[in-house]
Protein backbone atom coordinates (compact mmCIF):
# COMPACT_ATOMS: atom_id res chain seq x y z
CA UNK A 1 0.00 0.00 0.00
CA UNK A 2 1.31 3.45 -0.85
CA UNK A 3 2.03 6.02 1.89
CA UNK A 4 -0.84 8.15 0.57
CA UNK A 5 -3.46 5.38 0.82
CA UNK A 6 -2.17 4.23 4.24
CA UNK A 7 -2.52 7.81 5.55
CA UNK A 8 -5.94 8.29 3.99
CA UNK A 9 -7.33 5.07 5.52
CA UNK A 10 -5.76 5.58 8.97
CA UNK A 11 -6.90 9.21 9.26
CA UNK A 12 -10.34 8.32 7.87
CA UNK A 13 -10.86 5.48 10.38
CA UNK A 14 -9.51 7.53 13.30
CA UNK A 15 -11.74 10.49 12.45
CA UNK A 16 -14.84 8.29 12.18
CA UNK A 17 -14.13 7.06 15.73
CA UNK A 18 -13.41 10.57 17.10
CA UNK A 19 -16.61 12.01 15.63
CA UNK A 20 -18.71 9.06 16.84
CA UNK A 21 -17.36 9.12 20.40
CA UNK A 22 -19.99 11.54 21.71
CA UNK A 23 -23.09 10.51 19.71
CA UNK A 24 -22.44 6.75 20.02
CA UNK A 25 -21.04 6.46 23.55
CA UNK A 26 -23.07 9.20 25.28
CA UNK A 27 -26.12 9.59 22.98
CA UNK A 28 -29.62 9.00 24.34
CA UNK A 29 -28.68 9.60 27.96
CA UNK A 30 -29.27 12.84 29.79
CA UNK A 31 -26.37 14.64 31.38
CA UNK A 32 -26.20 16.40 34.77
CA UNK A 33 -27.12 20.11 34.48
CA UNK A 34 -23.74 21.25 35.75
CA UNK A 35 -22.01 19.18 33.06
CA UNK A 36 -24.35 20.62 30.40
CA UNK A 37 -23.45 24.11 31.62
CA UNK A 38 -19.75 23.27 31.33
CA UNK A 39 -20.21 21.74 27.88
CA UNK A 40 -22.08 24.81 26.66
CA UNK A 41 -18.96 26.83 27.41
CA UNK A 42 -16.93 24.60 25.08
CA UNK A 43 -18.46 26.39 22.07
CA UNK A 44 -17.10 29.88 22.76
CA UNK A 45 -13.76 28.50 24.03
CA UNK A 46 -13.18 26.32 20.92
CA UNK A 47 -14.41 28.94 18.43
CA UNK A 48 -12.16 31.61 19.96
CA UNK A 49 -9.21 29.21 19.79
CA UNK A 50 -10.02 28.46 16.12
CA UNK A 51 -10.13 32.19 15.34
CA UNK A 52 -6.68 32.64 16.92
CA UNK A 53 -5.07 29.65 15.19
CA UNK A 54 -6.69 30.37 11.80
CA UNK A 55 -5.70 34.04 12.00
CA UNK A 56 -2.25 33.95 13.59
CA UNK A 57 -0.76 30.44 13.70
CA UNK A 58 1.83 29.70 11.04
CA UNK A 59 3.12 26.29 11.99
CA UNK A 60 4.31 26.83 15.56
CA UNK A 61 4.86 30.54 15.10
CA UNK A 62 2.37 33.29 15.74
CA UNK A 63 2.55 35.50 12.68
CA UNK A 64 0.88 38.76 11.74
CA UNK A 65 0.22 38.62 8.02
CA UNK A 66 -2.48 39.26 5.42
CA UNK A 67 -4.95 37.13 7.38
CA UNK A 68 -5.17 39.93 9.99
CA UNK A 69 -6.78 42.16 7.33
CA UNK A 70 -9.31 39.39 6.71
CA UNK A 71 -10.14 39.09 10.41
CA UNK A 72 -10.44 42.89 10.76
CA UNK A 73 -12.78 43.08 7.76
CA UNK A 74 -14.73 40.13 9.15
CA UNK A 75 -15.01 41.83 12.56
CA UNK A 76 -16.28 45.01 10.89
CA UNK A 77 -18.86 42.99 8.93
CA UNK A 78 -19.96 41.21 12.13
CA UNK A 79 -20.27 44.57 13.94
CA UNK A 80 -22.45 45.85 11.06
CA UNK A 81 -24.61 42.72 11.47
CA UNK A 82 -23.80 41.58 7.95
CA UNK A 83 -25.00 38.11 6.88
CA UNK A 84 -22.55 35.24 7.19
CA UNK A 85 -21.79 35.10 3.45
CA UNK A 86 -20.84 38.79 3.52
CA UNK A 87 -18.52 38.18 6.47
CA UNK A 88 -16.83 35.33 4.60
CA UNK A 89 -16.58 37.41 1.42
CA UNK A 90 -15.17 40.43 3.31
CA UNK A 91 -12.62 38.20 5.02
CA UNK A 92 -11.47 36.60 1.75
CA UNK A 93 -11.36 39.87 -0.20
CA UNK A 94 -9.44 41.75 2.49
CA UNK A 95 -6.94 38.91 2.93
CA UNK A 96 -6.37 38.59 -0.81
CA UNK A 97 -6.03 42.38 -1.20
CA UNK A 98 -3.59 42.70 1.71
CA UNK A 99 -1.52 39.81 0.34
CA UNK A 100 -1.48 41.38 -3.12
CA UNK A 101 -0.71 44.99 -2.22
CA UNK A 102 1.43 44.78 0.93
Amino acid sequence: MSAAWASVLAVGAGTVVLKALGPVAVGGRTLPPRLVSLLSMLAPALLAALVVTEAFASGRRLAIDARLAGVAAGALAVALRAPLWAVVLAGAAATAAARHFL
Binding site: S2, M41, L47, A49, T53, V71, G91
Partner: protein, 212 residues
Protein backbone atom coordinates in the same frame (compact mmCIF):
# COMPACT_ATOMS: atom_id res chain seq x y z
CA UNK B 1 -32.81 19.65 7.00
CA UNK B 2 -34.11 22.46 4.78
CA UNK B 3 -33.19 25.07 7.38
CA UNK B 4 -29.75 23.48 7.50
CA UNK B 5 -29.42 23.79 3.72
CA UNK B 6 -30.37 27.47 3.88
CA UNK B 7 -27.93 28.07 6.72
CA UNK B 8 -25.14 26.32 4.79
CA UNK B 9 -25.76 28.10 1.46
CA UNK B 10 -23.34 30.99 2.08
CA UNK B 11 -20.57 28.53 2.96
CA UNK B 12 -20.97 26.16 0.01
CA UNK B 13 -18.95 28.14 -2.58
CA UNK B 14 -16.10 28.54 -0.06
CA UNK B 15 -16.24 24.84 0.83
CA UNK B 16 -16.25 23.89 -2.86
CA UNK B 17 -13.28 26.14 -3.70
CA UNK B 18 -11.40 25.01 -0.59
CA UNK B 19 -12.12 21.37 -1.56
CA UNK B 20 -10.85 22.02 -5.07
CA UNK B 21 -7.67 23.57 -3.73
CA UNK B 22 -7.20 20.59 -1.43
CA UNK B 23 -7.51 18.32 -4.48
CA UNK B 24 -4.83 20.34 -6.26
CA UNK B 25 -2.53 20.26 -3.21
CA UNK B 26 -3.02 16.51 -2.83
CA UNK B 27 -2.02 15.89 -6.44
CA UNK B 28 1.05 18.11 -5.98
CA UNK B 29 2.00 15.90 -2.99
CA UNK B 30 1.92 12.77 -5.20
CA UNK B 31 -1.45 11.60 -3.88
CA UNK B 32 -3.67 10.01 -6.54
CA UNK B 33 -7.02 11.58 -7.44
CA UNK B 34 -8.96 8.58 -6.05
CA UNK B 35 -7.12 8.70 -2.71
CA UNK B 36 -7.77 12.47 -2.43
CA UNK B 37 -11.51 12.02 -3.04
CA UNK B 38 -11.75 9.07 -0.59
CA UNK B 39 -9.86 11.22 1.95
CA UNK B 40 -12.46 14.02 1.67
CA UNK B 41 -15.39 11.58 1.72
CA UNK B 42 -14.24 9.75 4.87
CA UNK B 43 -12.30 12.30 6.92
CA UNK B 44 -14.37 15.38 5.89
CA UNK B 45 -12.17 17.82 7.81
CA UNK B 46 -10.20 20.31 5.74
CA UNK B 47 -7.48 21.39 8.12
CA UNK B 48 -6.57 17.80 9.04
CA UNK B 49 -6.50 16.71 5.40
CA UNK B 50 -4.33 19.64 4.32
CA UNK B 51 -2.00 18.94 7.26
CA UNK B 52 -1.64 15.26 6.35
CA UNK B 53 -0.98 16.04 2.68
CA UNK B 54 1.65 18.69 3.48
CA UNK B 55 3.51 16.33 5.87
CA UNK B 56 3.46 13.59 3.22
CA UNK B 57 4.59 16.06 0.56
CA UNK B 58 7.50 17.16 2.76
CA UNK B 59 8.51 13.50 3.20
CA UNK B 60 7.35 13.35 6.80
CA UNK B 61 6.15 9.76 6.58
CA UNK B 62 2.84 8.05 7.25
CA UNK B 63 3.06 8.10 11.08
CA UNK B 64 3.73 11.85 11.24
CA UNK B 65 1.02 12.62 8.69
CA UNK B 66 -1.57 10.51 10.54
CA UNK B 67 -0.60 11.95 13.94
CA UNK B 68 -0.82 15.55 12.69
CA UNK B 69 -4.23 14.96 11.13
CA UNK B 70 -5.70 13.10 14.11
CA UNK B 71 -4.37 15.74 16.55
CA UNK B 72 -6.19 18.37 14.51
CA UNK B 73 -9.33 16.24 14.59
CA UNK B 74 -9.15 15.37 18.30
CA UNK B 75 -11.34 18.43 18.93
CA UNK B 76 -14.23 16.38 17.51
CA UNK B 77 -14.30 14.30 20.72
CA UNK B 78 -15.39 17.24 22.96
CA UNK B 79 -17.43 18.77 20.10
CA UNK B 80 -19.29 15.46 19.64
CA UNK B 81 -20.03 15.27 23.36
CA UNK B 82 -21.68 18.73 23.32
CA UNK B 83 -24.32 17.42 20.88
CA UNK B 84 -24.39 13.75 21.95
CA UNK B 85 -27.73 14.01 23.75
CA UNK B 86 -29.60 14.85 20.54
CA UNK B 87 -28.51 11.70 18.71
CA UNK B 88 -30.96 8.80 19.20
CA UNK B 89 -31.61 5.50 17.51
CA UNK B 90 -29.52 2.57 16.41
CA UNK B 91 -25.74 2.38 16.69
CA UNK B 92 -25.18 2.54 12.92
CA UNK B 93 -27.51 5.51 12.49
CA UNK B 94 -25.74 7.48 15.24
CA UNK B 95 -22.37 6.46 13.79
CA UNK B 96 -23.39 7.73 10.33
CA UNK B 97 -25.03 10.96 11.54
CA UNK B 98 -22.03 11.75 13.75
CA UNK B 99 -19.86 11.94 10.63
CA UNK B 100 -21.74 15.10 9.56
CA UNK B 101 -20.40 16.94 12.60
CA UNK B 102 -17.86 19.51 11.41
CA UNK B 103 -16.98 22.88 12.97
CA UNK B 104 -19.40 24.79 10.72
CA UNK B 105 -22.37 22.40 11.01
CA UNK B 106 -21.91 22.23 14.78
CA UNK B 107 -21.71 26.00 15.21
CA UNK B 108 -24.56 26.87 12.79
CA UNK B 109 -26.89 24.40 14.51
CA UNK B 110 -26.24 25.94 17.93
CA UNK B 111 -23.97 23.15 19.12
CA UNK B 112 -23.21 23.31 22.82
CA UNK B 113 -26.24 25.51 23.50
CA UNK B 114 -29.81 24.64 24.53
CA UNK B 115 -30.97 25.77 21.07
CA UNK B 116 -29.09 22.93 19.37
CA UNK B 117 -31.05 21.48 16.43
CA UNK B 118 -29.85 18.09 15.15
CA UNK B 119 -31.67 18.42 11.82
CA UNK B 120 -29.92 21.72 11.06
CA UNK B 121 -26.61 20.00 11.81
CA UNK B 122 -27.44 17.17 9.42
CA UNK B 123 -28.56 19.60 6.68
CA UNK B 124 -25.47 21.79 6.97
CA UNK B 125 -23.17 18.78 7.30
CA UNK B 126 -24.62 16.90 4.31
CA UNK B 127 -24.53 19.93 1.98
CA UNK B 128 -21.00 20.84 3.07
CA UNK B 129 -19.97 17.21 2.51
CA UNK B 130 -21.26 17.33 -1.07
CA UNK B 131 -19.51 20.66 -1.75
CA UNK B 132 -16.27 19.55 -0.08
CA UNK B 133 -16.07 16.12 -1.74
CA UNK B 134 -17.25 17.46 -5.11
CA UNK B 135 -14.74 20.29 -4.95
CA UNK B 136 -11.98 17.82 -4.13
CA UNK B 137 -12.92 15.68 -7.14
CA UNK B 138 -12.85 18.68 -9.49
CA UNK B 139 -9.52 19.92 -8.09
CA UNK B 140 -7.89 16.50 -8.05
CA UNK B 141 -8.94 15.65 -11.61
CA UNK B 142 -8.36 19.06 -13.17
CA UNK B 143 -5.21 19.66 -11.15
CA UNK B 144 -5.37 23.33 -12.12
CA UNK B 145 -3.59 26.04 -10.18
CA UNK B 146 -6.00 27.10 -7.45
CA UNK B 147 -4.04 28.72 -4.65
CA UNK B 148 -6.08 29.18 -1.44
CA UNK B 149 -3.70 31.97 -0.42
CA UNK B 150 -4.25 34.17 -3.45
CA UNK B 151 -8.02 33.80 -3.04
CA UNK B 152 -7.71 34.84 0.62
CA UNK B 153 -9.49 31.68 1.76
CA UNK B 154 -7.28 31.31 4.85
CA UNK B 155 -8.33 34.72 6.13
CA UNK B 156 -11.93 34.00 5.15
CA UNK B 157 -12.08 30.99 7.46
CA UNK B 158 -10.72 33.05 10.38
CA UNK B 159 -13.43 35.65 9.67
CA UNK B 160 -16.03 32.88 9.50
CA UNK B 161 -15.06 31.48 12.90
CA UNK B 162 -15.16 35.03 14.28
CA UNK B 163 -18.73 35.46 13.01
CA UNK B 164 -19.75 32.10 14.50
CA UNK B 165 -18.12 33.06 17.80
CA UNK B 166 -20.07 36.33 17.87
CA UNK B 167 -23.28 34.29 17.74
CA UNK B 168 -22.16 32.32 20.80
CA UNK B 169 -21.24 35.29 22.98
CA UNK B 170 -24.30 35.48 25.20
CA UNK B 171 -23.50 36.46 28.76
CA UNK B 172 -20.32 37.10 30.68
CA UNK B 173 -19.42 33.47 31.19
CA UNK B 174 -19.39 32.80 27.44
CA UNK B 175 -17.19 35.87 26.96
CA UNK B 176 -14.85 34.63 29.69
CA UNK B 177 -14.67 31.17 28.10
CA UNK B 178 -13.90 32.75 24.70
CA UNK B 179 -11.20 35.03 26.12
CA UNK B 180 -9.68 32.10 28.00
CA UNK B 181 -9.79 29.82 24.97
CA UNK B 182 -8.15 32.45 22.75
CA UNK B 183 -5.44 33.14 25.35
CA UNK B 184 -4.66 29.44 25.83
CA UNK B 185 -4.48 28.80 22.08
CA UNK B 186 -2.20 31.80 21.52
CA UNK B 187 0.03 30.97 24.49
CA UNK B 188 0.50 27.30 23.56
CA UNK B 189 0.85 27.60 19.77
CA UNK B 190 4.67 28.13 19.94
CA UNK B 191 5.11 25.07 22.16
CA UNK B 192 2.72 22.39 20.91
CA UNK B 193 2.07 20.71 17.54
CA UNK B 194 -0.81 22.17 15.53
CA UNK B 195 -4.19 21.07 16.83
CA UNK B 196 -3.17 20.60 20.48
CA UNK B 197 -3.54 24.30 21.42
CA UNK B 198 -7.18 24.09 20.27
CA UNK B 199 -7.78 21.01 22.44
CA UNK B 200 -6.07 22.68 25.42
CA UNK B 201 -8.34 25.71 24.94
CA UNK B 202 -11.31 23.58 26.04
CA UNK B 203 -9.94 24.03 29.60
CA UNK B 204 -11.42 27.55 29.44
CA UNK B 205 -14.87 25.92 29.49
CA UNK B 206 -14.29 25.21 33.19
CA UNK B 207 -15.87 28.65 33.82
CA UNK B 208 -19.14 26.78 33.12
CA UNK B 209 -18.67 24.44 36.09
CA UNK B 210 -19.88 26.99 38.65
CA UNK B 211 -23.64 27.39 38.70
CA UNK B 212 -24.82 30.85 37.57
Amino acid sequence: MRRGLRAAAPLLPAAFVFGASFGVLARAAQMGAAAAVVFSATTFAGSAQVAAVSVLGAGGGVAAAVAAALLLNARYAPIGITVAEAFRGRFLRRLAEAQLVVDESWALSGGGTPRFDRRVLLGVGASLWVAWTGGTAVGAVAGGAIDPGSFGLDGAFAALFLALLAGQLRGRRAAAAAAGGAAIAAALTPFLPAGLPIIAATAAALVGWRRP
